[in-house]
Symmetry: C2
Subunit: 139 residues, 2 copies
């Protein structure tokens, strides 16, 4: 194995692959982590516009168009309109989208627990805390 296992970047990548597998088991096929992220961001920030979503997700605006398109095809969001700026078409969460979030989030958390069962509860909490701190998501 060599020096590979010492690298933080490598271990993060492996961990992410593991949790992606967990995500795939928890969520119906066709839904990507990026799409769920969009839904959660819209739910937490009503009226948020595509450009802002693109900046937060760190993708191009044209990429965000396509991501929102797929969410719209699934009827999880629809493109609304702003009264103050007719350029923006802020994605709005639909009933279906809200129901999807409510249905899938508990399953995702359950699968995360399952896939990280090698860690004790306190270890898992500490791992989350350290990652949040690393990502500047301080409490």
């Amino acid at each position: 194995m060599g020096a590979l296992g010492q690298l933080l970047g490598y271990n993060l990548r492996r961990g992410q692959l593991l949790l992606f597998e967990s995500f795939s088991e928890a969520v119906p096929a066709g839904i990507t982590p990026a799409q769920l992220t969009i839904l959660l961001l819209i739910a937490a920030n009503p009226g948020i516009k595509q450009t802002t979503l693109a900046a937060v997700l760190d993708v191009d605006r044209s990429t965000m168009v396509r991501l929102v398109d797929r969410c719209a095809e699934l009827r999880f969001v629809r493109r609304g309109s702003s009264r103050t700026d007719r350029r923006v078409a802020p994605p709005v969460l639909t009933e279906r989208g809200r129901a999807f979030i409510d249905a899938v989030m508990p399953e995702i958390l359950r699968k995360e627990l399952e896939y990280t069962s090698v860690l004790t509860p306190s270890e898992r909490a500490e791992l989350t805390r350290l990652l949040r701190k690393l990502n500047a998501l301080e409490d």
Copy 2:
């Protein structure tokens, strides 16, 4: 921000993006994490064959062909031959490949320290330990 920051998978992804940026700054353009992983695996396991590398990296054999191709174009590896099985062409680390590893690894570790400077040394060590345990790379 909402429930997103609570998800371990999301935090792992964010952390991996951060460390990927660190890697990009530490390594000359054109070298990907996958390529370095291959070099390190070959260095630690002389004679390892492409199929095994593909299994470890969890990619298709045809994908591994192309990854090794790029390492060969850079003269970091050359395709050897096995005396016991004429089918296998195990990639062999060249002088250049060895020199590259020796030159780049310290820089990578230095950049990792820089990019994770928000963590204390003990926190960083604990994060590494937890990730290694999660990835079943127990000491």
